[in-house]
Amino acid sequence: MMKIENLKANIGSKEILKGLNLVLEEGKVHAIMGPNGAGKSTLSKAVTGHYEIEITGGDIVYKNRSLLEMSPEERALEGIFLSFQNPVEIPGVNNAYFLRTALNAKRKHEGKKELNAAEFLRLMKEHLESLGMKSDMISRSLNEGFSGGEKKRNEILQMLVLEPDVIILDEIDSGLDIDALRAVSEGINKMKNGKRSFLVITHYSRILDYIKPDYIHVLKEGKIVKTAGPELVAQLEAEGYESIEDENQ
């Protein structure tokens, strides 16, 4: 699905990713775990084309194209979705209007008919109920005055509507209480269809009780140092990241 090859990336003059290799398989859930400052969020920014990131080496190949030559919106239209760690507030922009614009941009890109307001609202109603969101959420301004949990649910709502091919979840569990965590996880699990790939970026193993990973990758000092099955979680819990040696050396 996506192949990240020897990726090197700077923020400012600081090198954060130092030759990262990762293959996202179709239909699989990949968890990226690692200590603070290892480059987990930088990886999500590099894949989505964030303005802070300067790529200094390597490549990201997606659907047989280099992502590096594509604008952020082009990557999004090609099916890459990032659930932000801290979704930004945009005052005065109606949540439903924003999401319909995004959906119709994608539908247009795929040569499908754009949805009118009534069709869109029907679609919205279903998803809101499944996420336990109040219906007034979509008539409010985008993320403005939302609580931490509301922001995260709103990210998942967007994911459900946009039906992306690659879903990157950056610290999706941070700031969520147990009910919100369950609703968000259910939303994510609903998206599993044997084709979509997931990249779950997290500090803690808690979320992995809800979203079962196929692979665990340990990211340390800008590189993936170990890849294993879900059994690795227990070892990390017990021994921490210190114990992990770079298996490539």
Binding site: Y51, E73, F81, I90, G92, V93, Q158
Partner: protein, 477 residues
């Protein structure tokens, strides 16, 4: 996002800068008593009107152009301007209107033929110095509503003009208003009788076409007791390298329980990115809430002009009267705007609301200047002001000069001000959802203006949104 990209995204193209080739009667440039008598004679004005003009002119000669505004421009050559231009052979009916003028208005999206018009909007169209056509007059007459050019009103309703003209903006109010009082060429007059709710939107469209002419229009709206009117004003001009002067005066009078809603979409030619050309828009607009429980609302969307200098205000004389000012002012290219409002509270329990949104891009400079004054007898007066500025890029500027004067110890004034930039993080968020950069900028800007747009009548809100897109998007794609 690189500055170049942002500039590209905001350098809107002025798309209605066409010029129409029409035979016109234009007086040679210059201003003296003879010019004024010429204008007055051209309009077949009664003697009293001509004398008022001459009186204003003699006052104007003693006045100095004000320079306290946060704008800079080369000296205006008042003798280099032509003060009157009219299409030759003034029309007696629509059939006689020069097809080229009709075509010009069609291009602007304002068909004058009544059957084609938007339902329920009556239009007065002013082309250079004269009113070309007023529509729906008969329908309005049934309700006793007067909606005609100011020239016609001077002839047909002298008692109303004598009573109300200069009653809100005195003849010697300021340099530009006094100039207007001497040389005003046309404009609109509206009278809504007692107890009448005007059944349609009234609208005037101003167009400067001829070269080197100034436009000095004058609008007077009187809403008698228990009446309501919603009035809209739009404007445009051809693209030219020379600066052109526009100095209008608008006076509104609301009697007891009357409500006047005045909306402006101002899209004069803004000049180019180096500051060459464009309209100098020096306008005096003021409303008088004369009767108790009266209300005047100003809503303006200002995207055009090289320089804008205007402060639509309300004098809240009647008890419980209400003044409102909702404004979006956009400055891009090398535009400069110094705009805001004055709310003068004189009556008891008067209240005013000010919502001002300034957007600056490229080298645009946007200044909010406001005065809220609560007089000694205005017990229980209240004001709420909110002034927000949005900056796009790093070469533009936003400035706020609020003045608050409160002589009543129980007066209540609340002022909020914010300045923000379109953040890269906001743009990235929207783009990550597949929305193009251009649409993302537009979405953020529209969100910023939402409170003001929601005050416009529906058709005009649509127009204002489209105009904002044109101004801020333009050349991308």
């Amino acid at each position: 996002m690189p500055q170049k990209e942002i500039d590209k995204a905001v350098a809107g193209e002025y798309r209605i800068g066409f010029q129409v080739d029409i035979e016109a009667d234009t007086v040679p440039p210059g201003l003296d008593e003879n010019t004024i008598c010429f204008i007055s004679a051209k309009k077949n004005e009664p003697e009293w009107m001509r004398d008022l003009r001459l009186k204003a002119f003699s006052k104007w000669k003693t006045m100095a152009e004000p320079h306290w505004g946060h704008v800079s421009y080369p000296p205006i050559g008042y003798q280099a301007i032509s003060y009157f231009s009219a299409p030759k052979n003034p029309p007696q009916s629509l059939d006689e209107v020069d097809p080229k003028i009709l075509e010009a208005y069609e291009k602007l999206g304002i068909p004058l033929e009544e059957q084609k018009q938007l339902q329920g909007i009556a239009v007065d169209a002013v082309f250079d110095s004269v009113s070309v056509k007023t529509t729906y007059t008969e329908e309005l007459n049934k309700h006793g509503i007067i909606f005609c050019s100011i020239s016609e009103a001077i002839q047909k309703h002298p008692e109303l003009i004598k009573k109300y003209m200069h009653s809100v903006v005195p003849m010697n109010d300021n340099f530009f208003a006094t100039l207007n009082s001497a040389v005003f060429t046309d404009g609109t007059f509206v009278y809504i009788p007692k107890g009448v709710r005007c059944p349609m939107e009234l609208s005037t469209y101003f167009r400067i076409n001829a070269l080197n002419t100034g436009q000095f229009e004058r609008t007077l709206i009187v809403a008698d007791e228990d009446s309501y009117v919603s009035y809209n004003e739009g404007c445009s001009a051809p693209t030219r390298d020379e600066n052109q002067l526009h100095a209008a005066v608008v006076e509104l009078i609301a009697m007891k329980n009357a409500h006047i809603k005045y909306s402006t979409i101002q899209n004069w030619y803004p000049g180019d990115e180096t500051g060459k050309g464009g309209i100098y828009n020096f306008v005096t607009k003021r409303g008088l809430c004369l009767g108790d429980n009266s209300k005047i609302s100003w809503t303006q969307v200002e995207t055009g002009s090289a320089i804008t200098w205007k402060y639509p205000g309300c004098i809240l004389k009647g008890d419980n009267s209400v003044g409102e000012f909702y404004s979006v002012a956009v400055t891009t290219l090398a535009q400069q705007a110094d705009t805001g409002t004055k709310m003068i509270h004189l009556g008891k329990n008067t209240s005013s609301t000010i919502v001002s949104k300034g957007i600056s891009a490229m080298k645009g400079q946007n200044t909010y200047r406001g005065l809220v004054k609560i007089g000694a007898h205005a017990q229980g007066a209240r004001n709420f002001s909110q002034c927000d500025s949005l900056l796009i890029g790093s070469e533009c500027g936003a400035h706020t000069f609020p003045t608050l004067e409160c002589k009543d110890s129980k007066g209540y004034i609340e002022h909020e001000a914010t300045t923000s930039k379109i953040s890269d993080e906001q743009l990235f968020y929207l783009r990550q959802r597949g929305i193009s950069e251009e649409d993302a900028v537009s979405m953020i800007v529209h969100g910023f203006c939402k409170e003001v747009f929601s005050q416009l009548p529906m058709e005009y809100a649509v127009e204002a949104k489209a105009l904002l897109n044109l101004t801020l998007e333009g050349s991308v794609g």
